[in-house]
């Protein structure tokens, strides 16, 4: 019986790894749909090659920095991971590695959201290496790898902080250094909508992410024995639904329009928010956490826009702002039975746990967020100097990164038509 359980646990986490990896498919559609046609091939393609880079770096050093023996700041063994041993009790480390590498890739993809439609391809290559080695693994070690925040009892079930906030902070640093896309802001400070080219892609992307999240959160139980993963999936589903509904109603109340991209970001916000707390809270609390996440994402998107921080796919709001909320929500809603009683931090404020857990969560958010932001900012600033700018030239940005960085358009027929129109207009202008 015990052997069956071990196999089942390994199988479940293996399936989880596949589901989490498939989230990259969701990101491809989400990002491509939310951006313009001339960048579609680039946005989709770069996700695949940065996943390749991320995997290799994580295998070489990332996994070791997180789970290797070391100190409270960093792990320092298990580099170039390679353990083929069969399980005796618990997970094989290969299954664990497979699951963990996918999380790192998701975080990396989130970070690249802030680069969209204007960063050079070479910047993606170098930042993918540095992020996968020195940014994500350090935060993951602090919270999941037995580092100093884990010692404080920091609760982050599946990675609101580790995966989402870390990625979003790198995205913030990139967005700030890259500056807004051409045409995003007018001279008088008002902003324009640079609408994504395919809402159906974006929607399908969100649905794929949603499904993938059952692995992201559900398999973070690391086992199936007591069926607890079902409870985690239930909370995940409730929060996502609540987030979508809340964002749609908030957008409608604010602007009179039930905006589709905002609704989609609401669903993602619900998912990000519940990621930290899915294994700690009651289902009703999951609904509240999702609802608040969905409302927050709408206001956060507006705030960044007013601050002239151009965030093409709302990565900062969905993964950053809401990632913070998700992490803090544990300090409010964590049930004693799922925290104190199993020796994983304290119960939340609403369950007599006092301010302690909320304090630990806040500390985790501030420390992890600050680390991810500062290091990303420094790395990108250095790259900016060394590489002669992070951003493609004005002409390249206008022609689209598909052409400038890869030499062919994702929509060749369509873009050829656009080119004819542009040339005709330019000719007319010159001769009129």
């Amino acid at each position: 019986m015990e052997a069956v359980q071990v196999l089942m646990d390994n199988l479940w986490v293996g399936i989880g790894a596949i589901l989490v990896f498939f989230m990259l498919g969701g990101f491809i559609l989400l990002e491509a749909g939310s951006t313009r046609m001339k960048n579609a091939g680039h946005i989709a393609g770069k996700t695949i090659f940065t996943a390749g880079i991320g995997t290799l770096v994580f295998w070489a050093v990332g996994y070791g920095f997180i789970y290797g023996d070391g100190n409270p700041i960093i792990g320092l063994s298990n580099f170039f991971y390679g353990d083929a041993s069969a399980p005796e009790d618990g997970l094989t480390t290969a299954v664990d590695f497979s699951f963990q590498v996918m999380f790192a890739l998701v975080s990396l993809t989130i970070a690249f959201g802030g680069f969209a439609e204007r960063a050079k391809l070479s910047v993606y290559v170098i930042f993918a290496i540095l992020f996968s080695a020195f940014i994500y693994p350090i935060v993951a070690h602090w919270i999941w790898g037995g580092g100093w925040l884990a010692e404080h009892g920091k609760q982050d079930f599946a990675g609101s902080t580790v995966v989402h906030l870390t990625g979003a902070m790198a995205a913030l640093a990139a967005t700030m250094i890259l500056k807004p896309r051409i045409g995003k802001y007018n001279k008088d400070g008002s902003s324009n909508v640079l609408a994504g080219h395919n809402q159906v892609y974006t929607t399908l992307g969100v649905l794929i992410l949603w499904v993938g999240w059952f692995g992201f959160n559900g398999a973070s139980t690391f086992g199936v024995a007591d069926g607890f993963f079902g409870y985690v999936i239930l909370n995940t589903q409730l929060a996502a639904g609540a987030g979508a509904v809340a964002a749609m109603f908030t957008a409608w109340a604010k602007t009179g329009k039930a905006d589709v991209p905002t609704t989609l970001n609401g669903a993602l916000a619900g998912l990000v928010a519940i990621t930290a707390s899915c294994g700690f809270v009651a289902p009703w609390a999951a609904v509240v956490i999702g609802l608040i996440g969905g409302i927050m994402v709408v206001f956060s998107m507006q705030l960044f826009e007013r601050l002239k921080i151009d965030d093409p796919i709302a990565a900062l709001s969905v993964h950053g702002t809401v990632g913070v909320w998700g992490t803090l929500s544990n300090g409010l809603f964590a049930l004693p039975a799922l925290s104190t009683d199993i020796d994983w931090g304290q119960a939340g404020l609403f369950y007599g746990g006092g301010w302690e857990q909320l304090g630990v969560q806040t500390l985790g958010v501030v420390a992890s967020g600050a680390y991810a932001f500062v290091i990303s900012f420094i790395i990108l600033k250095i790259l900016d100097k060394v590489m002669g700018g992070l951003r493609v030239s004005e002409e390249e940005e206008i022609m689209g990164l598909d052409m400038s960085e890869h030499g062919s358009y994702g929509y060749p027929e369509q873009m050829a038509l656009e080119e004819v129109k542009l040339t005709t207009a330019a000719t007319k202008e010159n001769f009129s």
């Binding site: 007018n186 008088d188 008002s190 902003s191 324009n192 909508v193 409608w252 109340a253 604010k254 602007t255 009179g256 329009k257």
Partner: protein, 320 residues
């Protein structure tokens, strides 16, 4: 000898002194357009029109609600169709559209201009066309009918337009479903008051924080008042005049209690958008530049407009 250029110069030099008042501004526009007509007739090298005719304007001009700058909307009805007349008015129509553009009334995107054969016909052809439009009941034909209903004679025989409009009025009395088709054509209005009672402004672009006066504020009034006017057989074209006439009918007294004042205020707001350069600018009002009192007043007017629109839809739409 006057040319389009001299008219334009004269218009640009004088328009500023008419900007304080909607009536005088619209009378000034009328004067400009009449000058254009004179030059157009002279330009086609046939000094005397071969038969009696009417040159009418429609749209905001027809309703006597033109702002500082507006595009052209006009048409011709002439007495009898024959080869000579058809040829003459075709040329006159084309010349008029060109001349209007020259003096600063841009071409109409919807092609409602005398240069378009649909809007330049003999009385009999117009008669047939209007009946066809009503029988056809397509989205486009119903829209044309409503545009035609705002027609106002600028030059020529006034009876033609009255005669043609009476066809619509009589037809809808016999076929109440026509009014429902009219309603369906204008039923959609841009949401302007949010669920929590705030004024909904443009979220992006250079008009961020503004409301689109034309779509959000004017159209609910203009469209509902036109619908009631068709229903009640009122020939006036200006929305304010139509309201005056409608208020004489007992059952509309309550419904239209504030409409006259509200619409007058809206016109005043639009008159305040004077530093505009392009046509679009005259429609956008930045509510942040209004005082608290003005904002409150505007909100009330917008709410009343929506209420009026909903009530008129309810009154005139036949539920099948």
């Amino acid at each position: 000898m006057e040319t389009y250029e001299t008219i334009k110069k004269w218009k640009d030099a004088n328009i500023a002194s008419y900007l304080s008042n909607n009536i005088s501004l619209n009378e000034f526009h009328d004067q400009v357009m009449l000058k254009v007509l004179t030059v157009a007739i002279a330009n086609i090298n046939c000094p005397k029109p071969p038969c009696d005719f009417t040159w009418f304007i429609t749209g905001s001009g027809g309703r006597f609600e033109q702002g500082f700058i507006s595009d052209q909307d006009h048409g011709i009805v002439y007495e009898i169709s024959n080869e000579e007349n058809d040829h003459y008015f075709k040329r006159l129509g084309e010349e008029l559209a060109f001349g209007m553009d020259c003096v600063g009334y841009p071409y109409c995107n919807g092609n409602i201009m005398s240069s378009n054969p649909i809007w330049c016909k003999s009385l009999e052809q117009w008669n047939t066309q209007i009946v066809l439009w009503m029988e056809k009941e397509s989205w486009e034909s119903i829209r044309y009918l409503q545009i035609f209903y705002d027609a106002r004679v600028l030059f020529g025989n006034t009876n033609y337009i009255q005669q043609l409009k009476s066809i619509i009025i009589e037809y809808q009395l016999e076929h109440p479903s026509l009014l429902s088709r009219f309603v369906a054509n204008v039923k959609h209005i841009k949401p302007i008051i949010g669920p929590v009672g705030q004024i909904l402004v443009e979220q992006h672009g250079v008009y961020q924080g503004c409301i689109n006066l034309k779509y959000a504020a004017f159209l609910p009034y203009v469209n509902s008042i036109r619908l009631l006017s068709i229903k009640e057989g009122i020939y006036e074209t200006s929305t304010l005049e139509r309201i005056k006439q409608l208020r004489l009918i007992e059952r509309y007294k309550d419904l239209l209690r504030y409409s006259y004042e509200n619409f007058s205020t809206l016109i005043t707001y639009r008159m305040s958008l004077l530093d505009s350069i392009t046509y679009d600018d005259t429609h956008y009002l930045n509510i942040k530049k209004l005082s608290k009192e003005q904002r409150k007043q505007l909100k009330r007017i917008l709410k009343d407009g929506k209420k009026l629109h909903d009530s008129v839809v309810e009154l005139t739409f036949l539920k099948s």
